[in-house]
């Protein structure tokens, strides 16, 4: 049984249909990447998974249970955590408080403040600063740490490299093995195809709300990806 399995996920914004039946899956312990251009439906799909976007109950199964359309605050407790696009730290909370609020659902698991400060030492040094006073890369570490504090079985990362310098992106992705080592599966949405190819066990490409390509990075040719990504 897959950890996450979706069948025909659709999403609408008013009359506009953003997703036209997405079928995909994430196995236990896997890192899966979703690539695609702007407006391909990647973020809408993650929002549907974590409960921020309405979708049919049976279209999303997590750990075997139908979770489609459940409230977002309920889904976190089941072990599916999201690092939202744009980080969305809480400005009136310190770094440490941002992390602690991530543990609000009280899900048991390996992640604690100490464990996170070991993974991202800079956060320990700046724990009392306001979360939004940090650099972009450090804020992204807080956003990832905050999601990990809920001890998820699956971590969703929406465009975590957006707007960051290459060296900072490398630092952030360097934490991925440590996260996987705790048994957490990861689903990343990336516009940066190179980065996605490097970290993912499997890859999905979205185009105009549909899966245009799926496979293992090593088995996909440049032409295939280019066609699936741009449609030309």
């Amino acid at each position: 049984m897959s950890l996450l399995e979706t069948r025909g996920v659709t999403a609408f914004y008013g009359d506009f249909q953003a997703l036209y039946g997405i079928d995909m899956g994430v196995e236990e312990g896997e890192t899966v990447a979703i690539i695609g251009s702007n407006g391909a439906g990647k973020s809408s799909f993650l929002r549907a998974l974590c409960g921020l976007q309405k979708t049919a109950p049976d279209s999303v199964r997590f750990g075997g249970d139908a979770i489609g359309g459940l409230a977002a605050h309920h889904i976190v407790g089941l072990g599916l955590a999201m690092v939202p696009e744009g980080r969305r730290l809480f400005p009136s909370l310190s770094v440490e408080e941002n992390l602690l609020v991530g543990a609000y659902s009280k899900r048991p698991g390996p992640w604690t403040l100490e464990r996170l400060y070991a993974l991202f030492p800079i956060l320990g040094e700046r724990r009392h600063n306001p979360g939004t006073a940090l650099s972009g890369g450090q804020q992204q570490m807080v956003a990832i740490g905050r999601a990990l504090m809920s001890n998820p079985r699956l971590l969703l990362c929406d465009e975590i490299s957006l707007g960051l310098a290459p060296v900072v992106i490398r630092d952030i992705y360097a934490a991925l093995p440590g996260i996987k080592a705790e048994g957490t599966s990861v689903l990343v949405v990336e516009q940066d195809v190179g980065q996605a190819m490097k970290v993912a066990d499997r890859l999905y490409c979205f185009q105009e709300g549909r899966v245009s390509l799926a496979g293992r990075p090593g088995e996909l040719t440049r032409e295939q990806i280019s066609l699936a990504y741009f449609g030309v």
Binding site: C50, G51, L52, A71, A72, H73, V76, G77, A81, M82, P84, R88, F90, P91, S92, L93, E97, L100, V101, G102, Y104, S105, R146, A147, S150
Partner: protein, 290 residues
Amino acid sequence: MTEWIDTLMQGILLGGLYSLFATGLALSFGVMRMINIAHGDFAILAAFAAIAVVEPFGLNPFVVLLVVAPLMGLFGYLLQRTILNRTLGKDILPPLLVTFGFSIIIQNLLLVTFSADTRSLNVGELGTASIALGGDLAVGVLPLIIMLAAVAVLGALQWLFSATPLGRAFRAASDDAEAAQLMGIDNRHIYGLAMGIAMAVVAIAGVFLAIRANISPADGPARLLYAFEAVIIGGLGSLWGTLAGGMILGVAQAVGLKADPGWGILAGHLAFLAVLAVRPNGLFARTRDR
């Protein structure tokens, strides 16, 4: 000189009551970004509820307050969960209209039930007791109790907000409601709790008001105005600022009243306008413009 010190002291102590009114308002705006137009009317409602129990049974108002405040808290939670949560969204108008409707309903319900006569809560000798401070100066025991209660309430809320998981959830939901949901926070419940606390505090304010002065069913809107002024003077997002705002308003009114009996309330409004002109964000604003 003694007279002026006395005036100043009266004003500061009056500020304790004003800050209790203001706290509930600051809380619902701070957490839900919601302005409760019926805030003052809920205070008067709680006061009349207390009067309805105290008068026939001859109970002590302070004891009744121990029941009325939690009941109003529960009422606030249910009100938020069943009605007010539905009004929240990008548009700020629905909560204003709905609470304005509550204001009218409460005033008229009280009018039907209790008539337009002014009423008050009697605490016996405590109402007039005072502590001599030497010279011609004395401080009323009742205003002092109210001020201490205000400090205790604000201190408790400050602790709740800064040091507890619930307080973090309040602040997170206030910062970014959607991101808060991603942390497992049920915003509808959190908003209910915030309104419950706001209502419990406003019940304390309403009962203290009825102990200190005469009240009538139409007094709510004036109380809302003072509460607004205290919150704005102190600065949004700052609990202790709310206490300072209440004191500044109280002192301004007391000084105005001393100059001329007709000047009291006007002086309060003028002080409010002066602060607004010099520091539009309030004196102790913590939050940034958003």
